[in-house]
């Protein structure tokens, strides 16, 4: 029984009838799956490179001091608009930028670098971006030395509809022109400073001097509010807990 000089295997080595084993029947219904493609969702406006670009531009901008008499938010805001002119972002990239912003705030950064710079930059970013609805999470943006200080000058010269998740600091909606800012948390002092139009809604509490130098628009505060004096208000309406406290009906 030799073929090519090698012994042939006896037939008895073959295992016969294994598919009839009772145990294998238990898994009869589980069959090998047909391989079919799995796609990635095709989404619009999620460009990681743009977010990196925004962070780079943000990092390059430095303030000297908030208390410097030459400090003019208007100038810085214009500078930011110029820097952002060629970047066309979507609200997703704006939101992604905001979520990474807390990591850019370092220990030792000044108050203005920690709070005013993010506020003005986000305002410039939103105003220079196409689209109308934006959402910002401010919960982690804070001054490390005093964590109760919150992002300031948010919604500077705003023209869009912004939803803010978390608290904001002073000068919310400063020089706001139109649109709406809805804050789900608390806000600081001088909300709607020099505001000309649009609507600001604060679900939580607000600080002092609401509507300082206000010329138009509407501010609604649903929580408590601080000291208020309407002598510096020349237009617009302020509503506290559903009651009109200044302006026309």
């Amino acid at each position: 029984m030799q073929r090519n000089g090698r012994a042939e295997k006896p037939k008895t080595w073959q295992r016969i009838g294994i598919e009839e084993l009772a145990a294998s029947k238990r898994f009869g219904k589980y069959k090998t799956e047909e391989q079919k493609p799995v796609r990635e969702p095709g989404l619009k406006g999620h460009d990681e490179k743009k977010v990196e670009q925004l962070l780079e531009i943000y990092g390059k901008i430095r303030f000297i001091s908030y208390f410097n008499p030459d400090f003019m938010p208007e100038d810085v805001y214009r500078l930011m608009l110029v820097a952002l002119r060629k970047i066309h972002c979507t609200k997703y990239e704006v939101a992604a930028f905001c979520s990474r912003l807390p990591k850019c705030i370092k220990k030792g950064d000044s108050l203005v670098d920690s709070l005013v710079k993010p506020g003005l930059f986000i305002s410039a970013l939103i105003n220079s971006t196409r689209g109308n609805d934006f959402m910002i999470n401010t919960q982690e943006i804070q001054f490390i030395e005093s964590p109760w200080w919150r992002i300031a000058s948010l919604g500077y010269k705003n023209t869009k509809r912004i939803k803010v998740v978390g608290d904001v600091g002073n000068d919310l909606g400063e020089k706001m022109l139109k649109g709406e800012i809805h804050v789900l948390g608390n806000a600081g002092d001088t909300i709607g400073n020099s505001m000309r139009g649009g609507k600001i809604i604060v679900n939580g509490n607000a600080g002092d001097e609401i509507g300082n130098l206000m010329k138009g628009g509407e501010i609604r505060v649903n929580g408590e509010m601080g000291e208020f004096d309407d002598c510096r208000i020349s237009g617009g309406r302020i509503i506290h807990k559903g009651i009109l406290i200044t302006g026309d009906d």
């Binding site: 095709g42 990591k103 220990k107 609805d133 999470n137």
Partner: protein, 572 residues
């Protein structure tokens, strides 16, 4: 429906056979079908299947398969967990508080349907079934302008993702373009928040434009996401699990607000244990159970594996000490028949007396832990913001405690207080999360005492920690009792220091740790933007930085890597 079970098995097969109850056929169900999260079962309305298949021009088996794939998707893809459902519902409540309850429910339902269906259309095995059933449902919506248009935009989105053609009315194209920006399957909270906000705005805008009833004919299953019922029926254990999941995703303040919102919606939240006060060197310290529970739940996400250390241990050996009279109840193998003329005579024959003698040996054991935590003003306040230092310390304390070790705490700020080594985990955790909010000076003497035999002095001031099991009268009589000996051995203690820097006497602290490096494994964990330079000490002290809470397990991983490196070097 005779083919219900074979079709069910086929649908389950697309998800690799999840263990779900077989579906129930009901006579009438608002919406046609649903996955009931309360009872964890799938319900299908027979009439809905017949009508949809007739109007949509598909067989009843195709219709049933599509429905079942969709319903299983709610269990497998979105919301999948109670935590995700709660989070989505809370976001919708926050963003659309001006809208009525029905609209908010509609947004939640349609968002969940979209997330579920998107997952299916991206997988070719399920694509056709979902598109077929969605088209068939669309055919049944004639006369309902709002639902027809909303579902048309959703269907166009699904076709776009499935890379198939779909004709959409020109007036709806703007909404379709807006919807194309939404990533329904991204589990990141910020992406989900923005997705819900955008999606909700599309729905609200369409609602303003077309009006009409929202809940009717919205595909299948308005009762899938019947939130109030789900929340009210959820057991405290389910809720605990959900809260644990959520706590890892959102900030502390948002988490607190979410708990309030759950209470308003009639949810049974898990009961907190009774408030405790702990005795520290600084006096009685009341523990905030809410904070303790929050970080405790959160710390369960990051278990740490502790590398053991060769330590002296006490064990016993069996020895032949003496002889005694052999009695019938004793082991005959120990009898010495030679002592009674070769015969075994009870009471006369002597036998070996075995004794257990204590001996000193060495064994690999988990040491005790000393947590040195910074609670100065620059650290985040634990009850307001998620503190990675507190979280890391909780993870470490829990892991050491699980291995039978005692945990001691030094909480330092301008003034320091200590908690002697204890097995009462809640006491240790309470001392860790206590916040002082002053300057940053480490009490070196206190650390030195906690690491050496001097710690006996500390126990003398807090006898209750060493005499916990003794009656109070005995303590008053000033009876002395030994605390576990190994707690007093310096080498049996690991030190973990959590700080954000700015320590006035950092050099002194590091010198102490370096000096005692042979005895105590010291790890300094830097959190929240640490800036002081300590790399020069890192040869003998492990230094680890936490930028994100997900870095916490690396505390031990790096230590283990280092141990392996030494081991490999030793082996050559």
């Amino acid at each position: 429906m005779k083919n219900l079970i074979p079709v069910w098995e086929k649908a389950r097969g697309h998800y690799h056979y999840p263990s779900l109850k077989e579906p129930k056929v009901v006579d009438k169900l608002d919406g046609g079908a649903c996955y009931d999260f309360k009872k964890r079962e799938t319900l299908v309305d027979k009439n809905f299947v017949d009508e949809t298949s007739r109007k949509g021009g598909i067989t009843s088996d195709q219709c049933l398969e599509g429905i079942l794939i969709h319903e299983i998707g709610h269990y497998m893809t979105f919301p999948r967990t109670l935590g995700t459902l709660i989070l989505a519902a809370k976001m919708i409540d926050d963003f659309f508080d001006k809208q009525d309850q029905e609209t908010r429910g509609f947004v939640l339902q349609t968002y969940a349907d979209m997330a579920d269906d998107l997952d299916s259309v991206l997988k070719e095995q399920r694509t056709n079934q979902i598109l077929d059933i969605r088209k068939a449902c669309q055919a049944g919506l004639e006369g309902d302008e709002l639902n027809t248009n909303v579902r048309a935009v959703m269907l166009a989105y699904l076709h776009h993702q499935a890379q198939r053609e779909y004709k959409l009315k020109p007036e709806l194209k703007e909404n379709f373009e807006r919807m194309k920006e939404i990533d329904f399957l991204n589990e990141n909270v910020e992406a989900m928040r923005l997705g819900i906000w955008t999606f909700g705005n599309i729905i609200v805008d369409m609602l303003k434009k077309y009006g009409g009833a929202k809940g009717s004919c919205n595909g299948f299953g308005p009762s899938d996401m019947e939130l109030k019922g789900i929340l009210q029926n959820a057991s405290p254990e389910d809720m605990k699990e959900a809260l644990r999941e959520i706590s890892g995703k959102i900030t502390k303040r948002e988490f607190d607000k979410l708990k309030e919102w759950l209470k308003e919606n009639g949810t049974k939240l898990p009961q907190l244990p009774q408030a405790i006060t702990i005795g520290t060197s600084g006096g009685e310290l009341p523990v905030d159970q809410d904070v303790l529970d929050y970080y405790k739940q959160l710390s369960m996400n990051y278990p740490l594996v502790i590398s053991k250390k060769l330590l002296e241990t006490e064990s016993t050996i069996r020895t032949w000490s003496d002889t005694e009279k052999w009695r019938p109840c004793k082991d005959p193998g120990l009898a010495l028949p030679g002592s009674s003329g070769g015969k075994i005579l009870p009471g006369i024959t002597r036998s070996i007396r075995i004794e257990h003698r204590p001996i000193k040996s060495t064994d690999y054991k988990v040491p005790h832990l000393l947590v040195v935590i910074d609670s100065s003003g620059s650290m985040p306040v634990p009850d307001q913001r998620k503190s990675y230092a507190v979280l890391g310390a909780y993870c470490a304390a829990r892991s050491y405690h699980l291995h039978g070790s005692s945990v001691g705490v030094i909480n330092f700020s301008s003034q320091s207080f200590y908690l002697p080594y204890t097995r009462e985990l809640d006491h240790s955790l309470g001392a860790i999360s206590a916040f002082q909010g002053g300057g940053t000076v480490v009490d070196i003497e206190m650390v030195r005492k906690m690491l050496g035999p001097e710690m006996a002095e500390l126990y003398a001031k807090n006898p209750e920690y060493s005499m916990r099991r003794l009656p109070r009268e005995a303590i008053k009589k000033e009876l002395s009792i030994g605390v576990p000996d190994d707690v007093f051995k310096a080498e049996s203690i690991d030190v973990l220091m959590f700080t954000d820097g700015g320590i006035y006497n950092l050099g002194e602290v590091l010198s102490l740790f370096e000096e005692r490096a042979e005895l105590n494994r010291a790890t300094v964990v830097l959190t929240h933007g640490f800036e002081q330079e300590i790399k020069e000490f890192s040869e003998k002290i492990n230094v680890h930085e936490i930028e994100d809470e997900k870095d916490i397990p690396n505390i031990i991983i790096e230590q283990t890597k280092r141990n392996f490196a030494h081991f490999a070097e030793a082996r050559g």
